[in-house]
Amino acid sequence: MFKLVKRLTSVVAMFAVLFTFTTETMAAKKSKTLKNTQKKGFVRCGVSQGLPGFSNADAAGNWTGVDVDVCRAVAAAVLGDASKVKFTPLSAKERFTALTSNEIDILSRNTTWTLSRDADIGLTFVGVNFYDGQGFMVRKNSGISSVNDFKAGVSACTNLGTTTELNMRDFFNSKGIKYEPVTFEKADEVVAAYDAGRCDTYTTDKSGLAAQRIKLSNPDDHMVLPETISKEPLGPVVRQGDSVWEDIVRWSLNTMIEAEEYGVTSANADMMKTSENPAVKRLVGAEGELGAALGLDNEWSLRIIKQVGNYGESYKRNIADTGILPDRGPNQLWTKGGILYVPPAR
């Protein structure tokens, strides 16, 4: 009986995924995703529906942000041109299905790396491009200056289907406070509802709070509480089962961080080919055969640095200069007191 139900369900489900599934052989020698990407001529990248600093489209439809730069780096490495990316804006609810059903090849959408997401639903997280934590935004005149000032009956607006929803419960439960969760599918509606006074607090990742605050009618009337109630390592995600593609995305991100560590920027990358330091020479492809291991040419990393820049440049351009989070906090290199630490490219 159970088996029958299982079968029946697969049948029903098939209609939903009919147009997105294609049969795939595991034994493809070269990465199928890589091959498809090169054939199509662009990288299919899933991003947010508009989060300034991370992935946000301007009036002309140009995407910018640190999450966007990860996809651009992969495009530079694989296709030689950082602009060859097709962005698909996704809600929190849609994002994983879009990736597993083959509509996008990279999900770079401020997504928190957790065990269950990594292991259970056919995804693989390749790294962390932003260390974040959940916080609360309140009205300045409310007199609330710490999370300890919340009282029973507080209503909290947030996005549905996120780790935020779970952390919020853990937090309020640990304080023994009864609260009212008001969850929306899109961030714009969360902001609008909080702005109108539907909720006493707006909770999400602190970077998100900083970015969304700009959208409020009077940003200066609101503040983010100092406490951080969770760990939110955000990073790009790929489908499980294509380890070559996984490596390409991982090392594209690592290259950006390592380039900052060695002081290689988009401006000086070409000159670094003649550097004394072998690590730097390897990074810009002047030494070693690192590209071949990924199924790419040897200039792949040089193109990333030249066209997208290193991590520091990306952060400055998207997050610091836009006034979202001028202070890099934990997203500073390990050599400068942060926790950005990537394995060596060799």
């Binding site: 489900a13 009919l18 209503s155 899109k186």
Partner: protein
Amino acid sequence: MNFKKILPQLLTLVVVILVLGFFSYNAQVNMENRGITFGYGFLTQESSFDVQFSLIEYDGSHSYFRAYLVGLLNTILVSVIGIVFATIIGVVVGIARLSSNYLIERTAAIYVEFFRNIPLLLQIFFWYFAALRALPLPEKAEPMFGVFFLTIKGFFVPAFVWNNLDIFIYSVIAAIISIVFVKLYAKKKQENQGIQTPVLSISIGLLIILPLLSFFLGGVDASVEIPVIEQLSKTSFTFKGGLKLPPELISLALALSLYTATFIAECVRAGVQGVSKGQKEAAASIGLTPNQVLKLVVMPQALRIIIPPTTNQYLNLTKNSSLAAAIAYPDLVLVFAGTALMQTGRAIEIVSITMLTYLTLSITISIFMNWYNKKIAIKEK
């Protein structure tokens, strides 16, 4: 056995089975390749997320299945409210459109044309954000009759706190059953002796007396809990006690009923206009009062035309209630196909359950309306 007749049927069946088989096989292969497991075991796991509004006791320590029930009940709640109000508004507007008063007729027509031609999602957003903009903050809310508070955080109304609620419910059920018997008795009496019994007044009397008795004899006791304002911080307030209807529920029910009512109004108008004038004139000529003409001649015939298209509207309303997810009303789609799907990642399982649930809901409404339709249909003898 006519082989020629059966062969095409058989072939169709084989093709259908093959196609379905291919899809389910393909799904299984692909899910295996992508490392996605399949199963309904997650339904018993702790859900660990909360929901703002629930008809049954629920919090994150309950199971995903319980979260499913929460969403389902909320969907049913908003659908029932929507259907009741849409029917009332629809009938009133439908009759208003037939009015000989020009102003009333035009107003009704403008209402119908306006609301049925704007996409429902837009209307939901409009009512929700209009409500959020227009409603006062809790501390500024003017009490209605001293005990109702309509605020941006919800509609706070006094709640009954019951003792022995079950006895009260039994008394209501007993009243309903006795009304059915009274009705049967009255019908028999009229058929046998031609004497009419005032069924309506007896029914109302029963509905009042039996529950009242439960208070005096059954130990039922109800006290009223009035919402009281409470300060959360220097500038933020809420109400405590009483019953809270979230603004999401109110605006969703409002949008759904105003939208669907336009279609029902047209069904009603069509139904009444579909009864030929001769019927009314004939009824009047045999001495029926205008009230009896409407009740015994026009309405029974009009209903036959009204019911089938109205059933469609009820089904539409129920399915449209899934737009709730846009404005944070925790219906089945938001709670189960939204949060639960995201937290478990079990898209295929959850989407299939949700689809089956809507199918069941719609078919239930359909069956009920078909039964009612059959009941009022012309009985050909």
